[in-house]
């Protein structure tokens, strides 16, 4: 995926207003099945797997014993087992983590990254963009669920998920991969007549605008799910997974920092910039920053001290030695009645 095809802002706005497509084939895809598959997934993630019916797709985390985040991922529960979609850069360490824990379990683990293709179709017109390629009625697929279908000339899985804040689908084409990409190319070419091809630049600005963390920038093995505002993936009462004891101790102790959105009055915040109070007392650091094409302002995610994390709190961000005025803001940064999947009230 290039940084951009034509313009980051035009691609970004296409996804917010119409539809865009992203070639996300680089993301890691692994099938996990066998008699003990559910037991292994229960060990791996803080989200209850057994309460997910086949057909559900869910966002969750791989944790280390200290409660730090090894990776964030989407898991699709199928009739036969699970399909895990992980960050490309983390595939190696995720797989060794999973395989180490799997030694005592009767499971099959198959990396299908290179033999499949993954395309994200995102935006309020995602259904119109994708529907001509499949006979499955896309309007019947609920958010965070998936179905098996035919897309173009390939067997596929269609999941109503994405990482832009918009409604949309991610499709995994089983019959076309790195070695044999003719079917994938035909699907992409057809989609691109109805949806705008988008690059990594728009993918990043869209996910920041939606308040979604990026592994390696906003979350890593030193951040825990509570300070990252991801505790909603932790199923209440669940025990026995890797990191569960650490999470239990975090939930009873005060947090030292919280992930928050910040909007600047002017200038563009970037990763690593310092956040201070109005009186220049250091309270945190930016982990992701970009220009928001919807707000037409610089926006950021930061970790700040809980005492200064209230929505509406005035802060400063040190932009190359000069302070810029900012405000702690709820995320998504955009008005959810106007943008994002919730506006559709499905």
């Amino acid at each position: 995926m290039p940084l951009w095809y034509t313009s980051v802002i035009e691609e970004h706005l296409a996804v917010r207003n119409k539809a865009g497509i992203f070639d996300v084939s680089h993301m890691g895809r692994t099938i996990l099945d066998g008699p003990d598959a559910t037991n292994l997934v229960e060990l791996l993630v803080p989200t209850s797997a057994s309460s997910q019916a086949p057909g559900k797709s869910f966002y969750t985390l791989l944790l280390n014993p200290n409660g730090g985040i090894i990776d964030d991922l989407i898991i699709m529960r199928t009739e036969r087992g699970y399909l895990l979609v992980v960050n490309a850069a983390n595939k190696g360490k995720d797989m060794s983590h999973i395989r180490t824990l799997a030694t005592d379990y009767d499971v099959n683990i198959r990396d299908v990254t290179d033999s499949t293709t993954m395309i994200a179709v995102q935006g309020p017109e995602a259904i119109q963009a994708l529907q001509p390629l499949t006979s499955t009625d896309l309007s019947q697929i609920k958010r965070y669920t998936h179905v098996s279908a035919k897309v173009g000339d390939s067997r596929a899985m269609i999941t109503r998920t994405g990482y832009t804040g918009e409604d949309g689908f991610e499709i995994i084409l089983h019959d076309t991969g790195l070695q044999d990409d003719a079917i994938a190319t035909a699907v992409w070419t057809d989609l691109s007549t109805r949806a705008r091809p988008c690059g990594l630049g728009a993918r990043d600005s869209l996910r920041v605008e939606a308040g979604l963390p990026l592994y390696g920038s906003d979350i890593d093995e030193t951040t825990n799910p509570f300070e990252a505002e991801l505790s909603w993936v932790v199923t209440k009462g669940k025990t026995g997974y890797i990191g569960s004891e650490s999470l239990a101790s975090f939930s009873s102790a005060p947090l030292s920092r919280l992930r928050r959105g910040i909007v600047l009055d002017d200038k563009i915040p970037r990763h690593g910039f310092i956040v201070t109070t109005g009186t220049n007392e250091i309270i945190g650091r930016i982990t992701s920053g970009t220009f928001s094409p919807i707000l037409k302002k610089g926006i950021a995610m930061a970790y700040v001290e809980p005492a200064h994390s209230k929505i509406g709190e005035a802060v400063r961000v040190v932009v190359r030695d000069s302070p810029a005025q900012g405000t702690i803001t709820k995320t998504p940064f955009y008005d959810e009645k106007v943008f994002g999947w919730k506006r559709l009230k499905q």
Binding site: L3, W4, S7, I9, E10, S205, K267, I268, F291, G298
Partner: protein, 134 residues
Amino acid sequence: MKEHHNIPDGLHYTKEHEWARLQSGVVVVGITDYAARTLNDVVYLSLPSPGQDVKQLSTFGTVESTKAVSELYAPLSGKVTKVNSELTNHPELVNQSPYEDGWIIEITPSNLDQEKGKLLDSKQYAEFLASLDH
């Protein structure tokens, strides 16, 4: 990848991809079409105020695109006499019209005759861009 870049004749260029247009005692400065395309969407510029001095090939501000921050280098020494205030609300002018509406500052040069020779003409700048492709 060979792309056609717009490099108007009659302007003077730096290897940092700024252009300078000499006209009746002042010099208008902007960034080239190549620079604008390479940056992609320009979203913010940090610029000097009128009256400030700038030095040839020293930084006088920054230009930010959605993904990166780049320094701006003065093609000539002198005093800033005008700043394009349209860019505050419409930084996209730098992409849409890098040589006209997207101009950045105007300088009254202090050492024009000596410094002009250090700049490239359109043919030399085109050759310089071609050398970057390798």
